[in-house]
Symmetry: C2
Subunit: 885 residues, 2 copies
């Protein structure tokens, strides 16, 4: 009470603990104890057989980093105190030369993370204690083996001595003894090995192997802390968006030995099959071995079922334990265990990693088993895994070398013969050959080849290149912008990184990673089963956000509906303009020198547009369809200058050239400059809607969308044009039609002036692709593969803002837009149709903003349905258990 | 009290007045009465000799437009009532066949606006009343002349009969009579003319000239209302940013006659000379004439001084009146007057238009005369007029035809011989010839030609093209993007619109309007006199905003300082990279294949940069200088692909090509990709600052600015790089230097995340050019001359957002940025360095935002100083009297 703020602070600092025994930490959680420590403490608290030990917290690691690599004050004393309790419990003393207490030291961050220091076993041994251990256990060979392992592991992870140097000695010794397995070595051999390992250690560190157990322990703890910042760990964190400042905990565990003889062993087990999700214990074990032998793969382990015969007691105990674990965690667990002289010990438990198919099955099964509610099951499945189920994937077991890498432009994998032009791709594809279309870049002229190819690989172009967009729409794998690829079309040859290939050679591409691989690789087919439908059905029951698809063709629309889309959020009309038979008409329209001439060309285009719209509206009968009027700059429809078919065309191509086409004459600017284009499109939409209504008896719910609006005045005029045109069509047809007129919000100005724009719009659809480009000043085509890639590598950015919405920048503008629009029209319909609509984190943000729907490519619809449900559940506090530990 | 809301509304509606007599309206103001009506009412209220009359308000016009062209309810009755009062005052009746009351009807909006219906005189005459008037005045000729004028004016403005048809009859009649002047016609002739005019009227309207005076009046009022929407009026409003919904008032004034004989006359007069500002009445008059004769220029008027002899009484009265008017309005006035049989009447007063030089002189003189305070004088001068004083201008009296039009890229006018390449321009310019450099577009290689030319004309390129930027920096006229220009360099000929010209032909360009004129036109030289310095000195005393200049060379810096710049707000380092002797080094740097090679090239560039910085810092000694590190994409420093000097250069040019360079690898992205470039620049800055400090004894105030920051992390890293580099330089030199590190805010993301960025910055400078491009999604190069021009023509936009800040869009983001930045750092230094810093309306907004300074091109500095002062004054309620009426 009498303490000033300073005194209070000191009290708190003094009161701070950095270490908890497993028996104390049952409730402290993984943020503080790390995943491994939390698991050990929890298992201890529910009475499972865990060796005694304690955890040095992540907070200690953070403090160590803050202090630039000095241990926090008081930590050494705390370690002493907890080692003391361990000694008490074990009835042995640490460093006792006659019967030493041995411990393992293991890292454990809150998030599972490879690349960090893993484990040092047998800590506490030295030249004297090894003899004591031999005497106490009556097993000299065991004691020496334990000591040589300690020297090897300690030398490797604490002092950075290459493990290979130790392995070489071991191999040489085995060769001299004519032994093939470590177990064939005898005590004398191992004694010699300990000597040689000690020499290696001295040679590399300039001093003898540390003999003081407490010194060993402190150096091991420091090594764990330091390993948080190894390059490999940093790379992993970068790739997985894990913050750099979490730090790791350190677990100090009393050693139990699986290598004490034929009544001992060690293994790993899952509570269910991680590949299929099938219920029942799954795993493998090794007799007379220590944990790292299983992982190292030196000896081939036996399946867990075989344990029943070898260790019936331990097997029963393990079976019970696994059941208890699933009951406790209500999640599939992945454990490490050791049997010491017949007694089972658990050394680790964590949520088990699994395939997408297994994830679905486990979630559904656990509901059946009443372990989970449906909502919890929905919360459990990682949406980004669903892609695995919808596309062929490279077999996770397959081994291969990556020859080159491009952009992961459309997910899935494909193996096939290289073909270098679309005509051959079509010909061979139709003939049943598996082919991969390989082009410098694709154009609308290549579309027939893309259709018949298994996948597409291009040298140029980004995530929004023609090849990428078309492939995503078709659910076909595509690797784009593969800079290491160059094609010599005349020679029908290509160069791929260091390799020289010919047309007809087989390659495999992985559009999920961007990998290009020489030759054939085994693929796993798409695996949509009933669990998929069941779980997504539960997700649908939960979610508030509607999910639509971006689709430009009746086929895409049908596919989207099959995947559960509840409408079309973006139908891009320009893709219809690109089709082969229409391009000449489009070009005639662009080259027209008068409005009359332009109108004549448009009149001839109208029936095509109408036909397209009819197909799409019919495929989505009864559901809303948002049709975006022409958006791209007109020069996109003209050939390159050198291919101009006339002087007039060349003149026009030059006139339409723009320094920054992204910010040029496109979007609604076209509609205002050439109102007759939008008029034709509105006419085609209305006629198509009437035709479909007539045929199906159900009027489609058409939403006419004007792109790239920045000023309310633009939309005011275009809205009037739309209403006038539609009215005149309806009057002529003597029919009625309900439709909406709205706009994409894809410019920062539109966000801040959403109030004025809302007054002219029935709906907004956030076009977050372009909004990201303008808000960040990033041209997607120019950024990806160039400075953006470097930004991600250097961690200037945590995520690619074209994949995961930049919530604090672009998202903030969206928030401003939503607030201001709702001030004017609280009922305005709000959605998103950028590619972020198919990204789980971005979907969660859209839910939080209170949008009505997200729209994404058809193959992303299931992901979005699940992500939308999880966003609703997160609001209710139902979240996934983190995988790993 | 017992009235419900509806009753109340009706009461208010019934209570509404649409008409005020001049004697009632003294305080109602120009918004309601229009400029002309307000002037008449005010003059009446201070006892000046104004004929009786009344004003139909602008509100009546607005209601008329709202009702789609029906007169407001009750308006007709109100007109009757006020005509009645007029009759009472005059002692005559409207339409009285024996001695009719005659009136004029004149439009008068709140803002002076040519193109609207101006005046109908002599309203109230008909076939019978003309005879009564003849009898009552004893002057048949006068009465008939008045009647034929009425028929002609009424026919023209009310019924749209071409004035030319009437004029033709008049000319034919004079020819038949052998007369050269109207006054030579006699009564009989005029009687014949009235008959013929009546026939013309009937032929065109299908009915006789209206004989009912009240009918004439109502139709005239309607005609004035309708004239608000003539195309010419609309065009004028568009060009001057006047809202379409203001409406016009109508003034009905009892006729006085300057054409009653040799003791009558009419004229216009200014209270001071509108060309020079010299004190003393200035103007001209005509004896025995009506007002429109002066304006029509049929007879040559006499200077006002001559009035003293002809009408000594009226002259004295006029002199007194003018003094009284200036005393009342405290502003130079422009009046119309009529003398009827020796008696002076004022028909209009308005603030007089004047040249920039006159505006300055009048403002300064009026302070000396104690008519104005200094603050009021500062508020009076239109900042945009100042350009006239700083550049040669086309003589306002000159007549010429515009052959073609381009973008008004740099103000001022130039006359000279056409030269088609920079070398000849240099050669001939140095030889003393006046030449205009005419190019398809300019490049850095043309700079020596630009220096020696009087002005520059280009066919391509926008307001930010090389030619435009360089010309503005030099204060040299430039017309850019003149689409009607094409050059045949081999024939040394050019086509300009419909004209075929050869090199050596003389043209004149007006960079303030974009006009290109064939041949020589008289120019007026720059006119900076002591009034300029006096007034701007007063402005400096008032303003809160500091004014800096954008300058890249010591010469620009010196010029800016001369114009009163208080530092440099933007020094672009890339222009230094462009200079002839450096470009090879810059290219070597870009083509470098390793960091070492790049550093070697940069080491050779460093001394050049240091030399540049030394020059600029010395020129700005004691003032802050903001230096922006390299901003443009590197490909801007390479030649076009077809001019690549090596395969390696071609490869690099291709690799650096970008789809949207504006959104590509530029700005701080360069600094993060190639830190060695920014390191070199920081090193050069520090060394230059130390050198200048050593030489001058005054350490320069350097502000190092990182461009295009969107993420705080970018700036955090670059700030560290800057501090580390500067520290190492300073340590090596064993010196101290104060400097700031900040960023441009030119991306929407930077605005919304200004809080995070502010934590890393000592200052922000709003780069509103790029911020406008990204916020609106307008590429300036692609918009101007294309869709933006159309947007302005069609009035989708009121102003070019690259000239006048888009306050509600871009400005709103700036406001967000300022608020959020100040939350983190209330003391953060904020400025603007986009071209908006030299636009008066934008400067006012910057003041309102509370920025510390604006920065603009050197020649805009005086304008910005004045605009900044006016913004401060506006806050205190001191504003300019509106010119016109």
């Amino acid at each position: 009470m009498g303490l000033g703020p300073m005194g209070e602070f000191e009290l708190r600092a003094m009161d701070r603990r950095y270490i908890y025994d497993f028996s104390e930490g049952g409730e402290l959680g993984r943020e503080l104890l790390g995943g491994k420590g939390a698991g050990l403490a929890e298992m201890t608290s529910i009475g499972l057989p865990v060796p005694a030990g304690f955890t040095v917290t992540t907070e200690a690691c953070r403090e160590y980093m803050r202090r630039g690599g000095r241990l926090p004050d008081g930590l050494a004393e705390e370690v002493q105190e907890h080692v003391g309790r361990l000694e008490e419990a074990a009835g042995k003393r640490f460093g006792d030369p006659s019967d030493p207490l041995l411990v393992s030291v293991r890292s454990g961050a809150a998030v599972s993370m490879p690349g960090m220091m893993d484990t040092i076993l047998n800590l506490g041994l030295n030249d004297e204690a090894v003899e004591g251990l031999a005497r106490a256990t009556g097993n000299e060979r065991f004691a020496l083996d334990a000591y040589r392992r300690l020297v090897q592991m300690f030398g490797d992870v604490v002092d950075g001595i290459e493990a290979e140097l130790f392995e070489r000695e071991l191999t040489a010794l085995k060769a001299r003894r004519g032994a093939t397995q470590d177990v064939e070595l005898e005590s004398g051999d191992l004694r010699e090995l300990v000597g040689r390992f000690g020499e290696i250690y001295s040679r590399h560190t300039g001093g003898p192997f540390p003999q003081d157990a407490r010194d060993q322990l402190e150096r091991a703890v420091r090594a764990v802390f330091d390993s948080w910042n190894t390059p490999r760990a940093q790379v992993y964190r970068r790739a997985n968006g894990i913050p750099d400042d979490l730090g790791t905990a350190v677990n100090v565990v009393q050693m139990v030995f699986g290598n004490k003889g034929e009544d001992s062993g060690t293994g790993v087990a899952f509570t269910r099959d991680p590949s299929t999700g099938e219920p029942g214990m799954w795993g493998e074990f090794l007799v007379n071995a220590q944990g790292e032998d299983v992982v190292a793969g030196i000896r081939t382990p036996e399946p867990i079922a075989a344990m029943r015969k070898r260790f019936p007691g331990a097997h029963d105990r393990l079976t019970e334990t696994m059941a208890r674990l699933e009951e406790h965690y209500r999640e599939m667990q992945d454990i490490e265990f050791t049997i010491e002289e017949g007694t089972l010990y658990l050394l680790q438990t964590r949520t088990g990693k699994r395939t997408a198919a297994a994830a679905l099955r486990i979630a559904v099964d656990m509901v059946t088993e009443s372990l989970l509610t449906r909502e919890e099951a929905v919360a459990r499945v990682d949406p980004s895994q669903l892609d695995q189920l919808l596309h062929p994937m490279i077999d996770p077991q397959a081994e291969y070398e990556v020859a080159a890498r491009g952009l992961n432009a459309s997910p899935g994998a494909a193996t096939g013969k290289i073909v270098l032009d679309a005509d051959r791709a079509e010909e061979q594809g139709k003939a049943g050959e598996a082919v991969v279309l390989v082009r410098t870049e694709t154009t609308p002229d290549d579309i027939h080849g893309v259709i018949e190819a298994r996948g597409v690989l291009t040298a140029h172009g980004g995530m929004t290149s023609h090849a990428a967009v078309v492939a995503r729409g078709m659910g076909k794998p595509c690797v784009a912008g593969c800079e290491a690829l160059s094609i010599d079309l005349s020679a029908r040859r290509l160069r791929l990184g260091a390799h020289d290939l010919a047309e007809g050679d087989v390659i495999t591409i992985d559009g999920g990673t961007g990998d290009v691989i020489l030759g054939e690789v085994d693929l796993v087919p798409p695996q949509i089963d009933e669990n998929f439908g069941t779980l997504l059905g539960w997700a649908d029951d939960v979610r508030r956000l509607r999910v639509r698809a971006n689709a430009d063709t009746p086929e895409d629309a049908a596919k989207a509906r099959e995947f559960g889309a509840e409408g079309i959020g973006l139908c891009r009309t320009e893709h219809m303009f690109m089709a082969e038979e229409r391009l000449p008409l489009v070009r005639a329209m662009i080259l027209a020198t008068s409005e009359d001439e332009r109108r004549a060309a448009l009149d001839r285009l109208l029936p095509f547009q109408q036909e397209d719209f009819e197909g799409i509206l019919a495929a989505m009968a009864g559901l809303p369809v948002t049709i975006r009027l022409l958006d791209p700059p007109l020069h996109e429809f003209l050939p390159p200058l050198e291919e101009a078919e006339s002087a007039e065309m060349a003149r026009r191509i030059r006139a339409l050239r723009e320094a920054n086409p992204m910010l040029g004459t496109r979007g609604c600017r076209l509609g205002l400059l050439y109102p007759e284009i939008y008029e034709m499109q509105v006419r085609a939409i209305v006629r198509a809607a009437l035709a479909v209504a007539g045929r199906t008896g159900e009027a489609p719910l058409v939403e006419i969308m004007h792109p790239l609006v920045g000023f309310a005045e633009e939309l005011r005029r275009l809205r009037r044009l739309t209403l006038d045109t539609a009215s005149s069509e309806l009057e002529q047809a003597e029919r009625q039609l309900d439709y909406l007129v709205g706009t994409m919000i894809e410019l920062p100005r539109a966000c801040v002036r959403a109030d004025e724009i809302a007054a002219e719009a029935d709906f907004f659809s956030f076009g977050t692709n372009d909004l990201t480009q303008t808000t960040l000043g990033f041209s997607r085509d120019d950024a990806e593969g160039k400075f953006l890639t470097r930004y991600l590598e250097d961690r200037i950015l945590d995520a690619n803002p074209f994949e995961t919405l930049d919530v604090s920048g672009v998202g903030d503008l969206m928030r401003i837009a939503v607030e201001r629009a709702r001030e004017i029209d609280p009922e305005i319909k709000l959605g998103i149709c950028g590619e972020h609509g198919g990204d789980a984190r971005s979907v969660a943000f859209c839910h939080e903003l209170g949008l009505a729907y997200v729209s994404c490519s058809p193959y992303r619809v299931p992901l979005a349905r699940l992500a939308a449900a999880q966003a609703t559940l997160a609001e209710r506090g139902v979240t996934a258990v983190q995988v790993g530990g």
